[in-house]
Symmetry: C2
Subunit: 358 residues, 2 copies
Amino acid sequence: MAQHEAQQRRPSIHDVASHAGVSAATVSKVLAGVTTVKPENAQRVIDAVELLGYRVDPLASDMRRAKRRIVGAIMPEFESEFFGQMVTELEGLAEQRGYTLVAASSRESEAREKEILARMHDWRVAGVVLAPVRNEHGPAADFMKTNGMTGVLIDRVLSDDAFDTVSADSVAASAEVAKMLVGRGHKHIVIIGLAEGAATVRARLDGFRAQALALDPSVRIDVITSEVSVEPLRTSLRDYFAKGERPTAVYSLLLKGTLVALSEFRRRGWHCPDDISLVGFDDAEWMQVTWPAIAAVVQPVRRIAGEAMSLLFRRIDGAEGPPTARLEPCQVLMRESVGSPGSGPHSGGGDRQQPPLS
Amino acid sequence: MAQHEAQQRRPSIHDVASHAGVSAATVSKVLAGVTTVKPENAQRVIDAVELLGYRVDPLASDMRRAKRRIVGAIMPEFESEFFGQMVTELEGLAEQRGYTLVAASSRESEAREKEILARMHDWRVAGVVLAPVRNEHGPAADFMKTNGMTGVLIDRVLSDDAFDTVSADSVAASAEVAKMLVGRGHKHIVIIGLAEGAATVRARLDGFRAQALALDPSVRIDVITSEVSVEPLRTSLRDYFAKGERPTAVYSLLLKGTLVALSEFRRRGWHCPDDISLVGFDDAEWMQVTWPAIAAVVQPVRRIAGEAMSLLFRRIDGAEGPPTARLEPCQVLMRESVGSPGSGPHSGGGDRQQPPLS
DNA sequence: CACAATGGATAAATCGATTTTTCACTATTG
DNA sequence: CAATAGTGAAAAATCGATTTATCCATTGTG
């Protein structure tokens, strides 16, 4: 098998050195771009590198230097478009700077999150981008603090006294959603979400509520949250509807909640937007091809990733100063899932026949 | 800032050794579980480890040993549920064996794929799980061969003469889809897909065609593919419909194609399944909450990942022998998007009002 | 009692780079 | 012409582990 015969040891810096007739130190210098090498010798090194197909072993290289060129990324999951895109972006940005990104998923478990972090600390990563499962006050952030790790917290965070944070401005986005819904005459709205971290959820709720009540003090806003997972949320929403509650709009604070809402609408035979309107936090590709297309808040993934990496490398490069808390603006995509209350077929209006796209 | 004062150097194996009053070699042996250490000394080492909070530096550890405990995973993208789940699974399996998984996305580019592979080779990874952008004959697999890397190819592959392969049995699944559609009376079916790798696409087409024609020799099967990206596919499908073609069912060989089909249905105002049926390769969470729910072929992600890792580690551990080519069975999920031709409203039947879920 | 065998541990070599120190040699200056 | 300054490169130390070779002290045996 070629698989085995080619298993020869790769050339080391010493092989290059002896081929070029210089010392390993000189080779290292040439490769690092140090200018105090005689051009003639530099050329011989370059030739030898070319001839042998030599490439620096990043592991050995990182061994000696103070900061290793590895950064970690910890996401709650890889399965969603949001975190998938996030990892892709982070990977590219790390690469641009000559760093290797090691990504891991905490699978929505704080215990696992801390374990992964410990492992990354073992690797002596230069820094970590952490999207915490709950919020900035979990055990993972604590671990980072007590171990003097450098890092940036993203997504489910507001601000921290030790680390820079970057997240979507979901408060402003929620206010915009409120404007959209109340502006269309909705007077009974239910918000569903997970109580990921008290602060972030509260912020979104407050952002929505403040704007909604400012526009129409008579609007009724119900909130359904679940502490732990999505399934209890489904049950709660089902019970809520079963009680006879008839809100005219649902605002879901998370993607899975949007799915739950849709499936509960199905279960009850409600049509969206005729019977009930829906807006979801987090956009997904499929939301624009279904009928109705689902209105959604789009998070600025690229900006969050870019900002996070830029802050991270600033710290890695030794930047001092108090931590910053950045909020990146979201975009609210109005789509067919939002209508006006009372325009559905049950009240005489509406037509489920979708119009051709323009 | 705590961020900096805690930046103290971590204890090394020598620190542990001096604390325990033994040599570094002894510490290493205790940690490796070698039994030729006096119990008394072993205990002192364990105590010192505990006291100092010592943890082995995997980088330094891998330096000396022949095979590094790192495996790579290269996926075409992270944004889809399929590859997201795949990475999650692979990560867990690598972890179980004490390996670190380094994942990277080739972003559907063969050039990038090869670059990533070269970087992983630089890291001297013990092995790689590669989901090639096109097929098993791309430059990446070549690179692996000529450099004697060990690896397993997954997903868009059939078999290879140098590497083990694992993929979904999309041929059998396609046949099953054919049975489902033809069995319901469809006589004009269009298949859409990317010509990712000639062989895999052809296999799926053939699997479908053979089964369909066996059941009904009069069935007409049109095929629309695009070499490169999804957009040309959209254009082709649009042109196809614009020509006046009126197939009664669409079978999409890829997730993005399913989205394209749905959006083209929308554009023309066609209702699914009344006007046209749809089955897609690759399932996604949203497909069961939309109306209609979309019938889909579910790939056995866990099994593929498990089999790939098991084969990979077998090779890493030195297993010889010719490469194997595994096919894992898919599951075809029948859902509302599949109906019988001619039962739609245009021909008198059908009712777009969905029934409540059971 | 001398010598071999054995258990247990340490010293030293190694992995593949980087960085610091040392050194040889040339060029400048008093 | 000797002392000093300056160049470029080699030698050596280092990073933090693992592994091999070496060594000492017992114990066992003839």
